[in-house]
Amino acid sequence: MNSWPLWEVFIRSKNGLSHKHVGSLHAADADMAMENARDVYTRRSEGVSIWVVESRHITASSPNQSEALFEPANDKVYRHPTFYDVPDDVKHM
């Protein structure tokens, strides 16, 4: 049997916050994914907005390569404010 594709569900819990991944579900199409997401993930007013994305459209970084992927950020301490020496007497900085 051809089973329904997998969808990832993202919910904005209230305006002002970003959508956050809450889980996944199976549905035949986007409309059904939206209805199922409402029934499965927002039975107690957990959200004001829902995104559904078919899982196969998501490209994820690989944990095996995360060291190489994030390495350029790790050795650039000068990107942080604490890298710079400013005397304590200087205020509001």
Binding site: G23, S24, D39
Partner: protein, 319 residues
């Protein structure tokens, strides 16, 4: 081989540092298998658990009780779905999981192989069965596998309504007529021991506990959780004015815990192995629901495909 050992050591070091493991991370095959077994068993329990309670939806004594029970059974479906999704992140698909349930290869909690004979059973299930489940599930919110832990956080948030609605039913019955009180007592008599069995075999006989604790899937042993359940539940029974069906039950001043009588493990294993009062009926109902729903699943796919093709045709006309 050395490579695997090194990977396993790194993995255990991450677990020991209380890091969470996420789906794409390397994990030992045995860890993956253990999780699939446990999470799917948990998901199946939620879904099969809808059956004994669904039995009373049409016969709830009033509208307030009925909407509450409907919402509770709907929650159980939701819990099953969160857990199936978490399980699927381990690389097994939904169809295979359902197959394992329908062929009897995967288990579900034995408690759902007992029948719901009276309305009071709905109260006893909410109070005792959901109470025992909460005891088990709260520590699982810190399980080492991220998707499982996150699913459990959602489940636990919802579970407390279930227990309170059950206790309220028991309270109403036990403050009611003599017949109602007798119903409540009868339900407690029948559900008490199976609820204690929900925590699984004694630690000495539990083949999975040690490894699951080392992997921080479990945080407490079966016996620890069972004792905790007895300690919090006995005073709740006293408040109802009902008697726990165990003549060896006694407060132990020294240990600060209740001592309780031996569990009938023969009965436990009999039900696990398929010979409980409702095993066949439950599996038959699940299989039938799945088979009867096949045309709906197929029709939904056909409908989605038709709409996709129509949309594509409109687009190419515009172009």
């Amino acid at each position: 081989m050395e490579n695997i050992t090194a990977l396993e050591e790194q993995f255990q070091a991450r677990i020991d540092a209380d890091e969470r493991i996420e789906p794409k991370d390397w994990m030992p095959e045995a860890y993956r298998k253990t999780l699939i077994r446990q999470i799917s068993q948990h998901a199946h329990s939620e879904i099969v658990g809808m059956l004994p309670e669904g039995n009373w939806i049409t016969r709830a004594p009033n509208l307030r009780r009925k909407v509450a029970l409907l919402a509770k059974v709907q929650d159980e479906a939701g819990h099953g779905l969160y857990l199936y999704s978490a399980c699927e992140t381990l690389g097994i698909d939904r169809e295979e999981l359902l197959d394992q349930l329908h062929t009897g290869k995967a288990k579900y909690s034995s408690i759902f192989n007992y029948p719901t004979l009276s309305w009071a059973d709905i109260g006893a299930i909410g109070w005792l069965v959901d109470g025992a489940a909460i005891m088990n599930q709260v520590p699982l919110c810190r399980a080492s596998y991220g998707p499982y832990a996150r699913a459990m956080v959602r489940v636990c948030k919802e579970e407390s309504f279930h227990q309170r609605q059950g206790y309220e039913i028991m309270l109403t019955l036990s403050r009611g007529s003599e017949e109602q009180k007798a119903m409540a007592q009868d339900a407690l008599n029948r559900w008490w021991w199976p609820s204690l069995m929900m925590f699984g075999p004694n630690d000495a006989d539990s083949k999975h506990t040690a490894q699951s604790m080392a992997w921080r899937i479990k945080r407490f042993t079966n016996d620890e959780l069972r004792q905790r359940f007895v300690d919090v539940t006995v005073p709740q029974a006293e408040f109802l004015g009902l008697t726990v069906p165990d003549d060896q039950l006694k407060w132990n001043e020294e240990t600060g815990h209740y001592d309780f009588g031996p569990i009938d493990w023969d009965e436990f294993w009999r039900v696990v192995k398929g010979d409980g009062p409702c095993n066949r009926q439950r599996l038959k109902a699940r299989r039938k629901a799945h088979e009867d729903g096949a045309w709906v699943r197929e029709a939904a796919m056909a409908h989605a495909e038709k709409r996709r093709q129509r949309a594509a045709a409109v687009q190419s006309e515009v172009a």
